[in-house]
Symmetry: D2
Subunit: 329 residues, 4 copies
């Protein structure tokens, strides 16, 4: 029977991590399980830096961005020695299980601990990138889209007033999920992300053509290109310079950066975090181990932690096709 | 072959209706289909009050609340005479089809026209209530949740500062979808909606007990009850008065009302509207008739218009159970 | 020399109260003054319910709505006995001074204490109503305007889509400041506030005429009337009913209520709160007593607490005239 | 008697420009004055590219960002030939006056026209930079502060979660107004702007010391430095790199850029724009010429256009001193 568990947030922080912590603590309380929270991701586990988490500690945190447990990356865990040390800490603190809120990198760290730890290990997908296999959405993704949209809507105002071309760079190192979603939702005139092929100086014309077409035929008063980070050699600023030169029009780059990680989570993220946090505790009570609590087709499901990074999640092909259809018109 | 279609927005307006109109117009343009937009819902059809909708007319409306075509209810369509008149208008304007953006009431009106019209009739679910069968979400629901949340978060600030009990009434005449979703996302201490049973003066104690429990045991500094409209005889203000009297604490009612219908749509609604608007046109081209374009498990699907009001959509039972579990603790 | 002071927030809470507390604590730290914060306004003083306030306690509260010290009204202070008890508490806690953040009602309570207390008493104007004499703006007013605007902008969307008349009731029991400011900023078609004269069933025609005029001449697609609370016998809902009946058009009332008190303070309120909080401490160090720290013409100034409620602050006559000029057109 | 005037928006666009256009059109209508609006700033004047502006054209634009007249810079006006051409256009369109909404650069262009034009020329200060002499605030400044704050608050979330140092670069090429205001309102740990002296690699220690101090003594979990653009050789990214190297901690730069120009104007900007737009028309009717409509101490005032760029407006010395006091603690 489970009496005492740990929880930590790991990797890049995401809006909704606090909501997940809250759901874990409240659900654990219903099952008479004690919860301790480690600070700074796995670092807090290695250093036994933690705090008790009672229901009153999680009051009114559902709407707060960031994570009260702090997050961090943890190089030490990448070594076998680190994994052993983590397992030893879990044992010495008499924890029956650990819930890790983070992305697939954090889940790899979790699996490393499994070799030396007999308790239950459960993951909850928390990352703005929505690049974790086994769940339709990750906690933080919906908020990141709306934060990006809010910024792009503002840029639309000034782009429209000044008749400029803007390139807006969004996060997503390995995945165009945020870029495609925000680009479609912003009504961007063009979207550039890794899934659409590699862009270089050599094939720059592929993105120049629709711009020239739009200017000639439609009299667009502004033109916004949403770009995933790492889409062009030298970055989005270099791409803006290349476009400015080729088109002889001022093209400006705007790098949204870390504002995409912050802010009060939107409803969808708060609900998802609440659902997955609660489900993680319930399934731990039911004996689950080495599983991630995800949501597929509105249903909470378990998915093997070992497979969460297996394959790139596919972006909705219908929307990709529609976007390309519209852009090439 | 489809050459010319009409589109209208009907019933209570919802954020994202403009995004749906935009997607219909842009997709139609790709298929060389002309689009005319009727004003004020079916009234504009009956009165042949309309405008041409070209791609330049829908520039930069994806982010705008309301509907550029205006919406309205239309009593005339409830008569057989009205349906005949609508069909006659569609024929005289040489329309090969009509796309109706609205809720299940609007779809009933659409079906009435079908008796007298040989063209194709397609529905797109646009209503904040999320009470249409055949689609996981309706356009406008996600935004309504976030608008409600934004207001409840502000009420939390003042409730917390003043240590008051607040009742926040949300929309949803026949369904607790908005109330349950916003209540969970807001971390409301209690949620009252029709799905949880009927509340009267006689069984008021069922909601008093958790309040008294929370005050005694947890020292909560604020207590927010999210209430679906029409949950108590005399309304939410009467309920607040009854609670004030029973608890001898000031309980205030806050009726959110129509602010829930407005505002720039959030990303989820813009994407859903874009997807369903595009899908509606494509399926019309493919010959679909008397169907609604919905989304089930992230896939665009067709669903018979005649069945969209068939059964009450069920609120996620997992979240209902979790909420009750936490509240009764 | 001042070594130790108290601070409390009193009356209706206002966004920016936390920012004022932060500035007081940080400025006191520079002057090596200890600060204790009383909970629940003057109640915490009477009951000696308080906490130490060190710089780390006020980290990252500048952006938070509400007040970490909680606020409340305090009937006990209205009696001579209460004032004596408050003074005794200040003496027993060895406080050299007390800073009260609140409105003119709270300042009257402060003055009552002065009869029995030899330390320094300073007020900081914190109320959304902007009805305190001796300062151009009160802390919280700017945020309340923007919260109201945000809601009215949303109502505009739905009013415009449905072509309805909306009455939006704003706070301000004795003053039309919020109503006039928000009404002008929202581009409301009409503004009703106490300063414009008393409205009853008898002179209802004065507000009907511009509505009828607008409908006939301008083809307005929506009509929004911003109304100060207590502007019509029976309230704004009764006024909406009266208009509906007289015009034979659906007029809806929307009571914004307590959402106007919450939310993260806007920049203007954070800056004003920071300035006045710092100034209050500095002037206390300089020997000020029975004064309010206000801002007049961008300059921090002292103003006698006894005069803060003296006369109704006048609403900018230029804007009143402009509004009436436009409305009567 | 004035029968017909022109209006244009010039230079960098600012939130509230639409509200100013609306007030000009509505006030002109009351005085039976026709208004035409030139597109793209002075370019539209030179090319006689304009539209009639009737009250129905400015319905519901008070809340919209950008400018419906579009803005632009206009090199042609810098030549004597351009000024003559502009004057000729004003004469040929039989305009009795022109209202220019923009910054002091646009006002210099306006003055150039005066040599060849007998009508009345009035300026309205619209720029986010608040660097125009003769008015306490410019239209757009308040919104730019709140947009910056909103972004910095989000960065605070992630900085706090990850315990990072962030440098946030704000606009303001020649003035630290936005930076100081937003920095204070955000509770930034440090503010760097031109008014505080020149920063180079040589005196980097002046900003390192408070960071090191904060880390040692206060255990701050995040550290945000708000930086005016052009504050360091090589830009804010170079400064972040220099700090990273010196402190051996990851310091990240975040360049807010053009999002600061967009967005729906906040209440303060809508009210200021309404007041100054109305005042500009009224004073033109009263015979004013070569003047800017500004606001000083809440009063609308006229100020010679020729002096609007005379001296750098001084940042509130009280707040500068307070900020330095706190930072050096």
């Amino acid at each position: 029977m489970i009496k005492r568990i740990g929880v930590l947030t790991s990797g890049g922080d995401a809006p909704g991590m606090n909501a997940a912590i809250r759901a874990i603590v409240l659900t654990a309380a219903v099952h008479n399980i004690d919860v301790i929270g480690f600070h700074h991701g796995f670092n807090g586990l290695l250093e036994q830096d933690y705090q008790m988490l009672l229901p009153q500690h999680v009051q009114h945190i559902i709407q707060q961005g960031g994570t009260l447990l702090k997050s961090a990356r943890c190089k030490a865990l990448h070594t076998d020695n680190g994994a052993q040390q983590a397992a030893a800490a879990l044992h010495s603190l008499q924890l029956d299980g650990l819930i890790v809120i983070g992305g697939d990198g954090s889940f790899r760290g979790t699996l490393a601990i499994a070799k030396y730890y007999q308790g239950q290990l459960i993951g909850v997908p928390g990352t703005i990138d929505n690049d974790v296999d086994g769940t339709d959405y990750t906690i933080g993704f919906a908020t990141a889209i709306d934060t990006a949209l809010n910024a792009i809507d503002k840029i639309r105002d000034t782009a429209d007033a000044f008749e400029r071309i803007f390139l807006v760079e969004l996060m997503g190192r390995h995945s165009g999920y945020i870029t495609l979603s925000a680009g479609i939702a912003a009504g961007a005139e063009q979207i550039i992300c890794p899934e659409f092929g590699t862009l270089t100086e050599a094939n720059l014309q592929t993105i120049l053509t629709p711009i020239q077409h739009a200017q000639l035929l439609r009299g667009k008063s502004s033109y916004i290109i949403v770009v995933a980070e790492n889409s062009y050699p030298g970055g989005t600023t270099a791409l803006a310079d290349a476009l400015s030169k080729a088109l002889n029009i001022e093209c400006r780059a705007c790098i949204l950066g870390h504002i995409q990680r912050g802010g009060s989570p939107v409803g969808a993220d708060r609900i998802l975090a609440t659902k997955l946090g609660a489900y993680a505790v319930e399934q731990m009570v039911n004996g689950a181990n080495l599983m991630m609590a995800g949501e597929v087709n509105q249903q909470a499901v378990l998915y093997p932690l070992a497979k969460t990074g297996d394959k790139q999640k596919q972006i909705d092909p219908y929307m990709v096709r529609w976007q390309q259809c519209i852009a090439s018109d």
